[in-house]
């Protein structure tokens, strides 16, 4: 049961982080350099999960996943099962929930690079995409790693949204934090303690490694 939950949690956090990076890299790069009027709106949307209670997020996710909605209906049409209570439902929920934790460090990193970095690459004939891969992304490595670690740990620690949309199915959607909650609620404090201490320790360790690495990082931005 515990091993199932750990495996599931790691798989969920890994998948979520990977997909978030794919979305957030271009988004953050765009946000960092755009002068579009839509920018504050997009930034607000991205930051929304920071201030919203997870239950609100979960509630809207449930509404979207419901076959009563177009998206939910289309999903059922495609995959024969509703998105709620499935691994991919959790992935989508976790992505929404951890979005700001990945976008914001990346955006700060890209903003720190300033416009000149890209300009210099452009004058050498590199178009924006080549500039992104060869210059901006490698220079953003510290931010990328910070974003991945934050996104990953935040997903591991996620509770409210999973509680709303997960359905608590062992091996499928019962992640570590939910298992822990179950144990506390059913007065099984011994196991709860083990799980909680494990979560605290591993999170602490990961964050420690991140900050230590960041401290010693030699890749600096700019000239």
């Amino acid at each position: 049961m515990i091993l199932d939950a750990i495996g599931l949690t790691l798989r969920l956090a890994g998948t979520t982080t990977l997909l978030l990076l794919l979305i957030c890299l271009p988004l953050a790069a765009w946000l960092a350099s755009t002068r579009s009027r839509a920018k504050p709106w997009i930034e607000s949307l991205v930051a929304l999960p920071l201030v919203l209670p997870p239950t609100v997020l979960g509630f809207y996710l449930l509404l979207i996943m419901s076959p009563n909605s177009r998206i939910g209906a289309a999903w059922v049409e495609l995959f024969g099962q509703s998105l709620a209570f499935s691994f991919w439902g959790l992935v989508i929920g976790s992505m929404a929930y951890s979005l700001p934790f990945v976008v914001q460090p990346l955006q700060r990193t890209f903003e720190g690079q300033g416009p000149l970095i890209a300009e210099a690459a452009h004058t050498l004939g590199a178009h924006p995409w080549q500039t992104f891969w060869a210059i901006r992304l490698p220079l953003a490595m510290p931010g990328l790693i910070a974003a991945s670690v934050l996104g990953f740990t935040h997903t591991v620690g996620e509770f409210g949204v999973v509680l709303m949309i997960g359905g608590n199915i062992p091996g499928q959607t019962q992640v570590l934090s939910i298992l822990l909650f179950d144990q506390v609620e059913s007065l099984n404090y011994a196991l709860a303690h083990q799980l909680a201490a494990g979560l605290v320790l591993s999170s602490l360790l990961v964050l420690f490694c991140l900050y230590r690495w960041n401290h010693q990082s030699v890749v600096r931005i700019g000239g």
Partner: protein
């Protein structure tokens, strides 16, 4: 200045009114019943009550932490018993005030009756058996029926209702009290699942709390219980072990 006066006035009024009404802690699922009974109760006794509602687990924690409740309507047996032991209260402070009923909610053509669940391979929504007595009862019932599909475990009966109303699954077992207006709800023979006793614990015994419990025995209150998906305890029902 005006603000300060107003503030003093507010403090005073709060002080005056805090003495008079009963402070009643009630598990979220039973709150609608007590709300509906609130007016008839004050008409009948001249007594008012304030309802504090949360989940049974949360309210128990608050009581252990010294929350000033007069009486606590829990959703199960375990929590009032635990509180009675923890607070060293006499045995007669805990009584059963209602029996819960489980209903089958189905919008799936493959599940017309309870027995169809034996061959059903889809998802069935139940409350979390570890936390909700209704969930535990539903879990046992599913075992008994030989159900082998996926059990989606909502955090509590209200969430189970939410899942069902959003059509996130078409079949579910939940409390009759929350399934009143769900389409496709059907009653289940109460002998098929364990008795769902809901117990009340009197934390501060007084004439007022006695009156409230007595009022719950009235015809009016019993009719309300039944209307809202509960059964009254007593008369041949197993109440205490």
């Amino acid at each position: 200045m005006v603000v300060r006066l107003l503030f003093c006035g507010w403090l005073l009024s709060a002080g005056v009114w805090a003495e008079a009404p009963l402070t009643v802690a009630v598990t979220a699922s039973f709150k609608p019943v007590l709300s509906a009974l609130s007016d008839p109760f004050s008409t009948a006794t001249g007594q008012s009550m304030r309802l504090v509602s949360a989940s049974t687990g949360v309210l128990s924690q608050q009581i252990l932490a010294g929350a000033p409740f007069d009486v606590f309507f829990a959703a199960d047996r375990a929590h009032p018993q635990h509180l009675r032991d923890a607070l060293n209260l006499p045995a007669d402070r805990v009584t059963t005030y209602a029996l819960g009923a489980l209903v089958l909610v189905t919008q799936d053509p493959a599940v017309q009756t309870l027995d169809d669940l034996h061959d059903y391979a889809g998802r069935v929504i139940i409350a979390n058996p570890l936390q909700a007595p209704y969930g535990a009862a539903a879990d046992q019932l599913l075992d008994r029926l030989g159900f082998s599909g996926t059990r989606v475990r909502a955090n509590n009966v209200s969430q189970a209702r939410q899942y069902l109303s959003l059509n996130l699954a078409t079949v579910g077992l939940t409390a009759a009290s929350v399934a009143q207006d769900l389409p496709g709800a059907q009653a289940i023979d109460p002998t098929l699942y364990p008795v769902l006793e809901q117990q009340v614990i009197v934390l501060r015994a007084s004439e007022q709390t006695r009156r409230l419990l007595a009022f719950l025995q009235s015809t009016e209150a019993i009719q309300m219980l039944r209307d809202m998906g509960y059964r009254e305890p007593g008369n041949g029902e197993p109440v205490e072990p």
